[in-house]
Subunit: 200 residues, 4 copies
DNA sequence: TCATAAACGAGACGGTACGTCTCGTCTTGTG
DNA sequence: CACAAGACGAGACGTACCGTCTCGTTTATGA
């Protein structure tokens, strides 16, 4: 019955598996944005994806794992590595990128969900850590170029500077609830850039 | 059974209510440290506290609220407001305090649980935000004194500086999983102090 | 909500537990008669009983156990121990009783279900065996009295005679599908009575 | 994989269909003896037979039908029609045959499975009844010869006598759980023979 | 001191969601 | 074209935990 549908819409049933994967992740991601981790149910994800619950469980043994993958779909590619010519400029672009990611209501809910999912499963925070290690490594060049330009003293830790930039944004998201906007991104980038270029 | 115990140990049952409150919060706090928010069940809290489940629900309508109170008990008092005479010194003490709070395995689990609990309940993140607003306000004087001393330019935002200090620590706790130790506290304090005292 | 209902209809919630037990067993028994063991679902039993699924599972850990108890409710009381004065008469009454129990469409379905359930679960056939041991013991006096009257030689095994009487009826029910009626009861009783009273 | 095996062992792929049929039925029969109807899964039967699940479903639309056929494989031919010269002797041989069939652990499990399977499917108990009708007809001559010999009064119903002989054995198997052994076969044959030869 | 309100113990229940199992169908590719 | 391989739909199973409700008992306090 439900399978008949696929016959209608898709001439190329060759990729059923992939189609299922995609539609499930999309449904999960949407629900995540709408209701957050806690009130997301696997059953509803399945229904939205036009797929049966068991099919979801076949691929993602756990709600947490499903959410983990769904949540990363969005943030996976969008790490822009700016090269404006100055550390301040680069940091501002980076900060603006993070703000764009987590600043919206939906983005915030989705981002919070990753943390909740990781809290639920020991395996997941390993994955989360790996994801962030990758992310940090990908953005480190911004600082390394600043070192090459002489803006930042040699021996400075790129990671530390990126953490100082990103940390406060997530602090607002997860703990203080203060507004996350471009102005904030701007100011935190200024503070960090100043600290990095003019150390004690 | 549980009632028999109280009879044995305490001749002056005048404070039963308070005793119950305390033992439940303690049990909750312990469990939080041991297994985290997700795998903490109200039933087990009750059992550990030597109290019946219904009694717990009578006071804390929700698991999230119970956890919220239990988790805050620990961090409530320990906000040391240092006054070492220099911004760097003060920030280092502050950072060290946060590290001490969330750096241990138990403390990390407990801290993560607050976030998870807040994610589960709209009411709770309001409380969490209020708690953090209070905390920020309490630590702001550190920056204000630095401004008075002329270390930091007038017009600087105390909150921003505190956020820059604390954010990276929580980033490590919740997202990157990098080690949280005194050295890290030291270095992040240096970076932020430099940025605050020598702005662009 | 559903619990408010109890307030309306029943002043004495004290007997709730028993009421639940009864209504669930009744619902299960009905469904057993209607659709048989295989197509009986715990969920539907619960719904019919006006009770939630989890409540059913609280008392009967397994569908098989639920069915076992439900099925036995019916046959529990209906073991008439006749005393007509002759073995033949007694056996005819006994056989007629069994026929009445399993001869109807509903009774047949219910009875078959017991066997199916027992075949599915090691625990259950223990229970089933115990039930039958009790039943055999309860009907043995019929033969013992015949021995006392001198109708049946001393040393005859009461169980064997009862088994010879009852076995063929269940054979028809479970295997051959031949009609189970009073005439059959009559004839099998005659055969067994003859064999018991005039051994080789 | 499975195909490779067959290719190796058998030069004559013409009989593949038959080979598949046989190995599936054998696997099913084995599993039946080992775990019984309920815990037998089509998937496992297929795996044991070195065949894919779909192949099984192609031939046996239903688990019940597969089991029905598999179970009968064993009892299909082995109905020995004795002719010892006396009713008692013949009945004892017959009873011993049944005991041999269902008395072992594996045989019991297999036999019980037939009943369970028949309960699951309306079509199956029709087949089961037919099988038993055939079986009864095949064994009726034992009684008919006794009538010709004058051992048993003319007009006696052969079926009834066979049922009286076989029923108690299945009663023990399916309901009471009492031991099924040669001694029991002997005694039940005696009782029935007596009843048949010396009616009231 | 004793009555009475408040809090508690005990335990069943409704409800939601989880994750599992197995049956039987359907798709896709391969010999 | 039949089959291997395996994903899928369907639906039930049994579990865990949440939060609610009732009833009977203990504890604290005020008349």
């Amino acid at each position: 019955m439900a399978q008949a549908k696929t016959r209608v819409g898709e001439q190329r049933p060759g990729g059923r598996a992939e189609r299922v994967r995609t539609s499930v992740l999309e449904a999960a991601s949407d629900l995540l944005s709408e209701v957050g981790y806690d009130r997301l149910s696997v059953d509803e994800v399945a229904e939205r994806a036009g797929v049966h619950k068991t099919t979801v469980y076949r691929r993602w043994p756990t709600k947490a794992e499903l959410v983990a993958e769904a949540a990363q779909v969005h943030s996976d590619e969008h790490i822009p590595i700016p090269d404006t010519g100055s550390l301040l400029g680069d940091l501002q672009v980076l900060a603006a990128g993070v703000v764009a990611e987590v600043g919206s209501v939906a983005g915030a809910r989705r981002s919070r969900s990753i943390v909740a999912a990781a809290s639920s499963s020991g395996d997941l925070d390993v994955e989360l850590h790996a994801f962030w290690a990758h992310r940090m490594a990908a953005t480190a060049p911004v600082v390394e170029r600043a070192i090459e330009r002489g803006e930042v003293p040699a021996g400075s830790d790129p990671n530390l500077i990126i953490e100082a930039l990103v940390g406060p944004i997530w602090l607002r998201l997860l703990l203080t609830g203060e507004p996350i906007d471009k102005a904030f991104a701007h100011r935190i980038a200024e503070l960090v850039a100043a600290g990095a270029t003019r150390p004690a």
